[in-house]
Structure formats: C-alpha cells, structure tokens
Amino acid sequence: MTNQVSPVEEQEKLLEEALNIVKVQAFQMKRCLDKSKLMDALKHASTMLGELRTSLLSPKSYYELYMAITDELRHLELYLLEEFQKGRKVADLYELVQYAGNIVPRLYLLITVGLVYIKTNTNLRRDLLKDLVEMCRGVQHPLRGLFLRNYLLQCTRNVLPDTHEAPNENEGTVRDAVDFVLMNFAEMNKLWVRMQHQGHSRDKERRERERSELRILVGTNLVRLSQLESVTVEDYRRMVLPGILEQVVSCRDAIAQEYLMECIIQVFPDEFHLANLQPFLKSCAELQPGVNIKNIIIALIERLASYSQRNEGNMNLSVVLEDGQEQEVQLFEVFSDQVAAITQSRVDMPQEDMLSLQLALLKLAQRCHPDKLNYVDRVLAHTDKICADIHQSSGQSTLEHHTPVFKELMKIIKLPCDHYKNILVLIKLSNYAPLIRHLSYQGRVMIAVHLINDVLETNTAISTPQDVEAVLGLLDVLVKDQPDQPPSESDVEDFVEEQGLLARLIHHFKSDSADQQYLITSTARKILQGGGARRIQHTFPPLVFHAYRLAFVYKDLKDQDEMWEKKCQKIFQFCHQTITMLVKAELAELPLRLYLQGALAISEIGFANHETIAYEFLSQAFSLYEDEISDSKAQLAAITLIIATFEQINCFGAENAEPMRTQCALAASKLLKKPDQSRAVALCSHLFWKGTRDGRPVWALNDASRALDCLKKAARVAQQCMDGGVQAQLLAELLGRYALLRERGNQSLTPSLIDAIIQKIREELANLDQSEEVEQITKHFHNTLQHLKNRIESPDPESLGYEGLTLS
C-alpha cells in the first residue's frame, strides 16, 4: 500500500467528520428547542443540514448522513407540531426558513415546516404540496436532489389527500396527490437518469452500481402512488399510468426503464394491470434497445396468470378500442398481439429473449386458458417462425446444443409436456412436432426421452393408429436414422437405453378394441421398420408380443367374432413377416426365440390350420438354429429352448412331430462339447415322453424306449468326459432326469437302472478330492436321493413308484 488513503477509508473519514458535526449541531438544536429558542434552533438545524451540501460522499455514505440528519429533523418537526397544536403559532415560519441562503438546507427546512403547517391546517394542504414539489426543482444535483425529494416524499406520506371529494377545495383531492407524486417522480427520475451521463466514461460501471443503489428512491414514488386508496381503476387508467409511462418512455434510459417497468408491475394491483394492459405493453415496445424487455413482460404475464388462476379464470378483461368502445378480450390475445408487435419492432432483441417471451406466453395460455389449446398452438407457431428466422440468420438448420436459444426452446418444448402430462394432447398441437425439429440431434433425443418417460409415468394408452403415427412422429429421432446424427456410434449404452425406452413405450400402444389393436400394431411396424437393424431388434419384440397377446384376445372373442380364425391367421402372418425382418437384419437368437414363442401361442390358441403354422414357426426357429447359431453356448441354449418349446406344444400329429424330434435329437448329439452333448441329449428324452400333468391326456406319440435311449446315450457321453467332477455332475443331473421321467410314468426306466446310476455317481464322488464344486455336486446328489427316499416311503399314487430300489 502506498501512502494514499484508500477510497473506502477516505469515505469513512469524511462521513465520520460530517456525522460529528451533525451530532454537535443536533445537540445544540435540541438544547435551544428545550429553551424554546426556536430561531437559534433553526440556525443550528440549518448548519446541520449544510452537511448535506457535500459532493464528496458516495451514495452509500450520503445515505447514512441523510438518515442521521433527517432523524434529528424529526425532533424539530415534533417540537413545532406540539407548539402549533397548542396554538403557539410562530408567525411566518414558512417564510422565515426561506431566508436561509443555501438552497439545500433551506428546502429541507421548508419541507419540515411545510409538513407542520399541513398537519395543523389542512386548508393549506393543496397549495403547500404544490409549492414544495415545485421549489425542490432548485436542487439539480442528482444525488442531493434525489435525497431531498425523497425526504419530501417521506414527510408527506401520511398527509397526501386521498379522497375524491374534498370538504374544502383547498384540502385537495386524490388528484392533487397523484399530481404531486407524479411530478416528484418525474423530477427524481430525471435526476437519476442524469447521473448516468455525468463524469468520466471509465467510471461507467461504478456509476451504474451507484445508480442501482439509489433506484429504490425513485421507485418509492410508485409505491406511494399505489398506496393511494381512493385511486380507482379508472383513475389509474386516466391519471396515474399515462403519467408514469410517459416519463419512463421519454427518459430513454435503459436502467431506469427496466427498473421502473418492473416496479409498476410489482406495486399496483392486478386489476389495474388488467385494465391497462394495452397501454403498458405498448410502452414496452417503445423502450430503449438495451432494456431487457423480456423480464418485464414475463413478470407481468406471471403475475396476471397467477391472478387469473386465483380467480379461476373469472376475469373481466376489456380494452378500449380506438373508437372508444370497450370490448371484452382474452388475456392471451392481448399479450399475444403485443408481444408480436414488440418482437417485430425490436429488431435488436436477442433471439433467446424472443423465445423466452414465447415461453411466458405459453405459460399464460396454459394457465389462464386451459380450455383453449389453439392458443398454445399459436404460440408454438410463433416460436416455429422465430426458430426459422434464427436458422436463416445463423445459416444452420438446427439450434446448437447449449446455446441460449437452444435452452429456451427446450423449455418451450418441455413445458406443454410437463403441463398436460399427456402425449395425446401434445399431438393435437400441430406445431409441436415441427418445433422439435429445430433442435439439434442431442436435443431431439433429450426431448424424446423426456416424452417417453412422461408416457411411462402417466401410463397413457395410445389407442388409435393415427395417434401412434403422431407419437412416433414426435419421436422421430429414436425411430430412424437422422441426417445430422453423429457418424460414429458415440455411446452404445445410451443408444440401447433410448431404444429400450422406446420399446417400453410400444407397450402402451394399446386399444380395447381388438381390430383397432391390430391396426395400431401394423401401423407401428410400418413406421418402426424404417429404423434399421439396430433399432428393430429393440422395437419389434414388443410389437410381436402385442400381436401374440392380440391373438389370445381373439381366441377369447371367438364366440362373438366368427372371423376370429382368419384374423388369427393374419396376425401370425404379420408376426411371421415381422420376425422375418429381424432375420433379414442378420439377427438369429432373437427371431429364434420369437418364433418359438409364436409356436407356443399358436398351439395354445388352436385355430384352424394352426398345426401347419406352428410347424412353420418351429421349423423356422430350427433352421435359424442350424444356419445362424454357431457359438456353442448359444447353440446349447437354443436347442434347449427348442426342445422345451416342443415339449410344451401338443398340437403336432406324428407327421409333423417325427421329423422335428428326430432333428432335435440329431442336433443335440452333434453339439461340440461333451458335457453340452450329454445335457442336450438327456433333454431330448422329453421329446419322446411327455407326462400327464395338469390333466393333459396321455400323449399319443410317447415312446418310452427312445426316451430311455436318449438317457442312456447321455450317460454314455457323460462318462466320456475326462474331468471326474464334470462326470459326477452330469450323472447327478441325469439321475434327476431319470427320476423325473419315471415319475411321469415311463416304466422303461426301472429302479435297477436308477440304482446303477446311483452307484456310478457314488463311485465317481469317492474318487474326487474335496472342493467346493464337489461339495455342491454331492449336495445335489443327496437332495435327489432324499427325494427318492421320500417317494419310497410315501409313494405318490398317481405316478410310478420306486419299487425295489434300495438306498443305502
């Protein structure tokens, strides 16, 4: 630090000095008052007030000084008031204080004395108010003038006339009060604005900060106006608002305009705003280029919107047309027109601000006119136009991510979604979908995800083909490849997640009417098939399951719909096509499973010709297995599924069943790994023997010996395994299968065979070293043995027992 005193310290020092003088003079003043030496007291008061003539203090320090001094002036005022009320009127006091040579102390004293006169004789009120506000013109220094006029305003706050009819003309009416405050307001605003233009341009920032510290002084005028209780809506329209607006517009200062417009919105009642929307908004259009007009309008809109909500939309809003007639209008209409005018007239307005305005309008439309969807749509149309303009100026076809315009547009798009919580409403907005297209790829994805989540949360059903089309139109970015999509697959996980969401959405494409449901599903497929292999693997399965479910619905409807069999055929044809598309997309496991699922459904529904179709499905699945699935684990899983499906299907005659089970057994024995082979072959035993559970009749095609062959072959293969543990495990599994099939009534699996397996397992287990794996196998084995023991002790009458089997 240099020797120079910092500005802050200097301010403190100056302020302290001034406050000390104030203290001394105030003390003297009060002492003189106590001795009833009024003239001396006035002299001290004047000296004290002389401190306010300083030019050295910052607004903050000046404010402190002002507070200290006006505090002391209160003593003088109270003394005079008391004297006057006692009838001890000092002659010509009002004139006497005007002999003070310096204007600042003189006017403070004049105001103080004037107030006492007004309080003790209301007949003087009107003229004194006029005189005071007029005389204050003498102080043209912004800071000193602002505080002086603030003092005037503070002093007169309780004495302003607030009636329409004064008992005595001289007492004045509310008109005089309005004139008084308006004049004071205009002068203060001029002074405030003038601060901006004084001093060096490098101090601009500091000046603006100081101005904003002082703005409350100017705003207090408006507060005072709003506190005049007898001002009616009509008065406000004719006397108050035009006066304020004229001043605000003509001062041509952005800071003032912005602050004052917001002030107006804040301080006056909603009813007043409603009745004067047009002039207010018109003035908004005339504000300086630098004014953040959007904040002003948004504040007004929000205020009126919540007012409208509180009154449940019961608002009498009328405007005076140019021919003088009043016409009832909708709140939205007024705003919409004026906002359009403003955006048009203010070419310099930032584009994001235009969008923010639309956002506010949108909120207004939704809150105040919930029944008028066309208002919302109108806003969206406007927004669309603005976006188009933005593209034109930027030369790009979409809005860049994370730009202000982008964020605003996102808000606009999300708002109706969050408001209605119903995507069906959104699709009624003809301008909604086009708006989404203005966003960049990521933006569109975000919106799509948002929309879908909303549907899922609210569990909305989309139940007509048209709706489906429209909804998928909104989600275009997820449905198919986009021209502006990033070329590299940036994040597969995200993509899968998005498609997963889309798939979940598809489950909400449902209608109570079966025919309708068919149309929905086929419409959806028509749209979704454009998505390419990457997408349809996520989007088609739900469609296929929709179709299967639909087929069951028709089955339930078979009494009412004689066409049901035809329709079912058609459905499965549709499914077949759909799955084929997946196959063409070089997918294997997914279509295989879908085919198997289809086959199950078909066999269960049992419509005409179902056997052929089921066979077709199953054989398709099988050929997929043969042609497309090469991974050994996948093969095992696939063959397991195929076998299981076949086991579940009961519709096949020998003609269709024979090739199928032979093929399966063959395929099982051709598996690469021995353990896989063993397990698959063991499973094949089910192809030849089905139990009679759940009241199923005995299967005509049961073939006990071939089932046994399978098991035997599985045991043989198992024993070929090199690893003892694997062998033991396979055998233990096999033991279970033996027991299962025997209990399902296959007599060829005799207890002795079972016993042989048991012995074999024991043998193997004995050779094994202890390990966790072995323990598990042993446990599995013992559990099976326990089961057998239970069965021996309490045989199930409906199934075969284990006569002759002894377990040691």
Binding site: K43, R106, M135, P142, G145, R175, L182, M239
Partner: protein, 431 residues
Amino acid sequence: MSFFGFGQTADIEIVFDDADKRKVAEVKTDDGKKEKLLLYYDGETVSGKVNVTLRKPGSKLEHQGIKVELIGQIELFYDRGNHHEFISLVKELARPGDLLQHTSYPFEFANVEKPYEVYTGSNVRLRYFLRATIVRRLTDITKEVDIAVHTLCSYPDVLNSIKMEVGIEDCLHIEFEYNKSKYHLKDVIVGKIYFLLVRIKIKHMEISIIKRETTGSGPNTFTENETVAKYEIMDGAPVRGESIPIRVFLAGYDLTPTMRDINNKFSVRYYLNLVLMDTEDRRYFKQQEVILWRKSDKSRLPLHPHHPQTVSYQGHQSLRKQSVSSDDNSARATPSNPDPENVMQRSVSPSMPEKQNGPLQMEREKPEAFIDKLAGAHINENDTNDTSDEIEEPKPVEKLPVVEKPLIAEKPQIAEKPTLNRPEPAGSPSQ
C-alpha cells in the same frame, strides 16, 4: 452647554405631538448603529413644543431670539464641511429678550413637503432634523432631534414582469423572468430561470441583490456597490429544458427604496444579479435593475389578495408560448420592436447593449477578477446566521405566500408534461 461654568444656561427639549402614538422607524446613524426615530411622511405636519429649562432657576437668560428649524440635508462624506440643505424651514419662537423661567413654545410646520427618504449609505447621508436654537451673543444653545421620513409610493399592481433571454453563444442560453420590475420592500421576488442551452458544467446559481450608491457628479462621481443579499437558487448542473423557480423574500434584508438623483447629489439603485458558477469557478452573471419602493403599511394589510406571488414554473412550454405570443410586451430587448414595455425596460437598464437581435450577451467575468469579490464559490454560512438574526425581529407580514392563490391552477396544461394532464371527468360520478 456651559463652557465656562458661569452665567445662565438652559437645556432645550423638543417634544413632538403624538410622540407616543406615532410610529417609529429604525434609521442607521453615522457610526452604523441603529436608532429609533419618529416617523413622518411627506406632507405631514411636524408639530410639537420646544421646552426651555433654565439650569439656574431665578436668574435670567438673555437671548437674541429663539427659533426652531426643520432641516432636510444631504451630507456627502467626502465633503464633510458642505451640507446641502434641501429643506430649511424656520419658525421664530421668541423675539430677543430675557428668559426668566422655564418656557414652552409650541411650534408647527404645517404640511411639510418631505420629498426624500432618510438614508445612510457608505458615502452619503440624508437626514431630517429639527433644530431649536436660543441665539446668544457668544454661543448659541441648540438642540437637534432627528426624525425619520419614509417616502411612500404606490404602483399599480400590474405585472410588468422582466423577461429576458441572455446567453453566451454556443455555451449558455437562459431565459429568466422576474414577476415584476418594481418591488416594494416587503415584497417577494418570484420568477424562474429557463435553461435553453447548457454546454458548461454549472455548479450552482444564485441571485444577489446589489445596492449601487452613486454620489457626486461629473469627475467626482463615487460609486459604491454593496451586496445586500446573496441567495442560492440552484444547486447542481441543470440540463436543457430545466426550469428553476426563484422566490426571494425581500422583507428580511436591509433595503431602501430606489433613489434616483436625489437633489442631484446621489442615487441608490438596486440590481438583481443572477450569477451562475461553473465547476471551474467561472462566473456568468446578468445584472438587472429593479425598482424598490416603499409601500404604505395601511394598504399592505390586504396584500393584493388577487395578486399572485408565484409565477408558474410548472412547465416552461406554457411560458415559452406565452413569451412568443406576447412578444410585443415582453422585455426582449429587440430594438426593432420598441413598445412601451421595451422602453420601460431600457430605461431601467440603459447600459444594456442592444447591438444584436439575438439573445443578449451575458457577461463572463475572469475568475481572478472575482477572487476578492466573493470568498469562495459557496455562500458563507454567515449568510444564514445573519438571516436568522433578523428573523428574530417580529415581522408584520401576516400572510404566507403560498396561501395566496397561485396561478398554476388557472394555467393551461402544458405540452411538455402531458403526464399531468387530467382528462376531464366527463360523466364519471365517482369523481
């Protein structure tokens, strides 16, 4: 007056009739003190008694006659020996003879013309006094008693306002208006300053009242300027279009009526000096003579009930308009347009340059020329103190200026502030 302590001598006393009822007035004496004197007006009779009291009762006082004089005289301080008597009236009270006892002589100067007002200035004094003399052979016994004389005027209450546009080219143009050109001593100067062009940074503006006392004639002319009052009327820098009100109460200041060519010996004139100070302490000013006159107290009671003391400074536009429309009788010093008003204006300030049609030149003083004239830019706090000293004198003014009807309400509303326009409450019952 007994120089030698022997012989008979006597005291003279002059007693005025109605002395207890007559008003008194404060008059400054030679040495600057104030004394209270009985007040007479022009044409009033001065009467009373001269009482002669013998110091040594019983012995006689020989005299060559006793007389009383009423004298009005002008004393020029640079010419001490020479008093110019403009009135000298003598009444013989007694023929030469002997006085044996206390004697009282009534006297009366009937309807004396007293054309001038008493005045004590820096270089001149005008006084009236009565002198009673007992003429003796060696030393006369005399007694002088001063009386105060006020001259009353009455001017019609017509607003002959002073309005003028002055300025310095491309720098400062203002238009000022004082509501009258003639003010009585308890009057209020009301006016406004309208700023037409401001290219300088003004710090403040004040009005001072300057008393200019001129004595002598020809090469022996002495002029003394005294700033009687200094009154700040604006603080800070105005911008174009601003109009600043002026209101100065005269009653508080030590003023006399304007005196012009009093007996060809002296004049006292008053000027309103409008001074603007810029931030570099340059002063711009315009002097304007105003006539001060004394108003009869009796007629002061109603105090022009319909006479506005506030000029409307509500907005300059109306005034501007007014000044345009009433161009003929405004005091714009355009020589091509000589009308009664203008002539009067010129007679008021004959030294006004009248060379161009445009705004009058304001004078700009060199800063150094003013260092002596005013201490600092601001008005000293002493001014306030002086004022409050005078405040303690009870003032006979009984009315507040604001109580009187201001013109404002009657003025047409102004284009500059349509904001204040009230639409007529046509058919609105709530109003």
